[in-house]
Amino acid sequence: MTGTSKGLITTRQLLHHEAPIFEQGAPGRSGASLPKLDVPEVSAAALLGDLYRDAAPGLPEVSEVDVTRHFTRLSRWNYAIDIGMYPLGSCTMKYNPKVNERVARMPGFAGLHPAQSEESLQGALELMYRLERALCEISGFARVTLQPAAGAHGELCGLMMIRAYHQSQGRFPRKVLIPDSAHGTNPASVTLNQMECVPVKTSADGILSAETVRAAVAQYPGDIAGLMVTNPSTLGLFEENIAEIAEVVHQAGGLVYMDGANFNALLGKVRPGETGIDVMHINLHKTFTTPHGGGGPGSGPVGVVEKLIPFLPTPTVELADGKYHLLYNRPQSVGRLRSFFGNFGMHVRAYTYIREMGGEGLTQATEMAVLNAVYLRALLHEEYPPASEKPSMHEYVTSDKKIKKETTVQTLDIAKRLMDYGYHPPTVYFPLVLPGALMIEPTETESKETLDEFAAALLSIAKEAHSDPDLVKHAPHQTALRRLDETKAARQPRLRWLPPT
């Protein structure tokens, strides 16, 4: 294949097909460096009796060199934000600053044990306190808990607080309104709380109307626990009616939860805590640059308005008389969602990023993220029509509508073909309300040149769809492996390596 302009051509590089590590090495080989035993040897068999394990677990037998090569080779089969543009809509793959990584590894943070006394943890508690204050400043909430380990964990936490609030008023409402464009985690979090989802349709222009919410609320008098809304929505649109919608929900006795997955579109522009939102989670691994690590760790702090403070998870970090301390005695708290204090290493990274950017820098990040998405829309809209005529915020959501009508090529093919041009594909087939969706989120860390090249690639694919559809439908051609058989994987699940018979 050839590209059409500078930077579009992917190149091949030496890549090793790498067998599972269990098929490597030799009996008796080890990569361990263990201290000599300087106390008396004991007999595990005698001490453990019936519990003694005769055979060691089936771990590989390889040297440190083998392990290093194995995982280095595997790593080279991954795409990554440090390799190129990774425009996964809603996932916000922006550059992960290197200084964050260095700071998180400082002994004064990485070396702290959670059972240490408060006196020996003052710096860490201060960092958590400062991060909470910074997130309050940015989001407009009264307090923030740092405990949840990821966005979905934050949703669970937020819904628990909503229920606890209602129960403190002697009410037990169960219905939670959820727009059809919501992330799958929203309804799943509702179920995990044994509340019930009430789907709400977005209007033809892609946003929620107060009338629809009013109608939905009217169906369940006295039983509305709340509404979960993503703003900007998963269609990349600002929910312009949010204040009125919040009022409708509040009048029905409900609270409003905001999924903050797209909060990176609002920094310095809108503080959700001032728009009628009562609870919101913030993904530190999206908006605040903590790395995604191939699937985590994330971190999902949750902000709340004043009246929900008593229900925050325990412990909270407090400042009194110049000392930071952990407050466990919080009788109305929902309790704890996990052990210890949350993904502290992610707190350190996010705090580092926030302090580097400052208020002005964060605002600029939002401005350039929106500029980039709107710019891509301007370059692409003819071949890739927008999901809505409403203005895009931080992501451009489009679909295969035009290409599918004119050719046999569809979204999945476009996504796979983008790999041949050197890009990670956007999020595809989500949100579910838009058939064949392509959710393109460039983020503020991509330059104009990169965006031009990326748009050229997508436009080139649109041409190929007409001129050589098979080329697109059999893509990717340049990757180490071709399309994978997902049906086979699901029909005959092989979820671990097994020794050959």
Partner: protein, 477 residues
């Protein structure tokens, strides 16, 4: 701003193509009353000032180390759900490869085979640790998922899974369970159970620190066929290895599943796996073998279960398959359990998990290998037994419970444990966790306020242990 590449000329050109007169115009559709009217009040720092500021914050805490006291750090015997081991330098070096830490969840398998194969290998390792041994030619008896947030939330999810499988709701939590694991379980269940706190029943432990089996049998008989699962921890919060088979026999009679929580997976280098002892679901914590303690997070929730329950497992699963040219490859699979497909009918809401820490756990286990993992477990057992013998030689000290332990023991000392710990802290030693410390308390233990939970590992030299014992004896009244 070094992370934002836009020049003024870029912005001007982009705006021209968009057809907007200013960046501000891009936000003009947001209703004015919702707009923030003032700049965010956060001061920006350049890298030099940033490193100074964070260096100063870092210096205001005392890191815990396993080795002899050094300037500004403390010799630590803290465990209580996080027993830090030495993690080889090569592990963190590998994690710093950008292909690992700056990639996303592997949604597009053709460009994520590295992560997918690594998760597949991680799943294999966790199945080996927690499941029964594999018989060649037979199907895998146990499956692991791609990881959960941490041991406590993984345990709560395991209990929810048991409730789904059995269609029953009561949960019996037995013996000395980590108070934060139990707290998390209450957090997940109390709100959703109309019975409130009633859904979780507890059974105590005996003088040996193990589950009181008589009390368990009585309670199970009372509860009849309402019990979804019996939850037990091993090694438990007092460091004692639980005989899971005995608990499982009673659970099985009641038609309940057995869920085992394992905050110290290294024990299973020497101890029969929970799966071999009949556990249906196992949840654990891998932080101690994966990464630095980092104030308890990020760690990695380990999760494995008998294969027959695979469709009720929460979280992501990676499976082996082939590509269209027939080459071996890996994909996310059985996604119809998951929130992005099933929405409100999903097995869990979990999406992002702890991928990078799971990777660290896998890399470390590969380096240790079959012999190294077992030897590491032996070292831990030996150090802890040495400490045990030394402490028993101190006037007025005794083991809080008598059962077999692995690398953590509960010791009742002379005087208040918190006072003793404070005195030792002044000498640069984190002696152990007083069992009445907020967040770590075990009120069901008689004399909890006089008891310290002390963990020893391969990181402690004999002289470190001797130093601890001498210091403890000196400061106790």
């Amino acid at each position: 701003m070094r992370y934002i590449p836009h020049t003024d000329a870029d912005v001007a050109q982009m705006l021209r193509i968009i057809g907007a007169s200013s960046v501000e115009e891009l936000f003009s559709h947001i209703p004015a009353q919702l707009r923030l009217k003032k700049p965010l009040d956060i001061e920006a720092l350049d890298e030099v000032s940033l490193m100074t500021h964070l260096g100063q914050l870092g210096a205001r805490s005392t890191p815990a180390t396993g080795a002899t006291v050094r300037e500004g750090a403390a010799l630590s015997f803290l465990g209580a759900g996080l027993i830090p081991h030495h993690v080889p330098v090569a592990v963190d070096m590998m994690l710093q490869r950008a292909e690992w830490y700056t990639s996303y969840t592997p949604y597009q398998p053709e460009v994520a085979q590295g992560t997918l194969q690594a998760v597949f290998e991680y799943q294999t390792l966790v199945s080996e640790l927690f499941g029964p041994p594999v018989t060649p030619g037979q199907a895998a008896p146990y499956v692991s998922n791609a990881s959960m947030y941490d041991g406590a939330s993984a345990t709560a999810e395991a209990v929810l899974m048991a409730r789904r499988i059995t269609g029953r709701s009561a949960v019996v939590a037995c013996g000395a369970i980590h108070p934060q694991y139990l707290g998390t379980l209450h957090c997940y269940l109390d709100g959703i159970d109309s019975e409130g706190r009633g859904a979780i029943k507890t059974v105590g432990f005996g003088a040996d620190g193990r589950v009181d089996l008589t009390a368990l049998a009585t309670l199970l008989a009372e509860l009849g066929s309402t019990v979804a699962c019996v939850l037990v921890q091993s090694p438990n919060y007092l460091g004692v290895l639980q005989d899971v088979s005995a608990v499982r026999a009673l659970a099985q009679k009641a038609g309940a599943l057995t869920v085992v929580a394992c905050p110290e997976p290294l024990a299973f280098g020497l101890v029969k796996s929970p799966g071999s002892q009949g556990a249906d679901i196992v949840a654990g914590e891998g932080i101690g073998l994966a990464s630095g303690p980092s104030l308890g997070g990020p760690g990695v929730g380990l999760f494995a279960a008998r294969s027959e329950h695979v469709r009720q497992i929460p979280g992501r699963l990676v499976g082996e398959t082939v590509d269209q040219d027939g080459r071996r490859g890996y994909v996310l699979t059985l996604a119809t359990r998951e929130q992005h497909i099933r929405r409100e009918k999903a097995t869990s809401n979990i999406c992002t998990n702890q991928g990078l820490i799971a990777l660290a756990f896998a890399i470390h286990l590969c380096m240790l290998g079959k012999s190294g993992f077992r030897r590491l477990a032996e070292l831990n057992l030996a150090k802890s037994e040495y400490l045990k013998q030394r402490l028993l030689g101190v006037r007025g000290f005794r083991l809080a419970v008598s059962g077999p332990t692995f690398n953590e023991i509960a010791v009742t000392v002379r005087g208040r444990a918190a006072d003793v710990a404070l005195r030792l802290r002044e000498q640069g030693i984190f002696a152990g966790v007083p069992l009445d410390q907020p967040g770590f308390e075990l009120p069901s233990l008689p004399d909890a306020e006089r008891t310290l939970l002390i963990a020893t590992t391969e990181r402690h030299r004999r002289e470190d242990i001797d130093h601890l014992v001498t210091a403890l004896d000196e400061v106790c009244p």
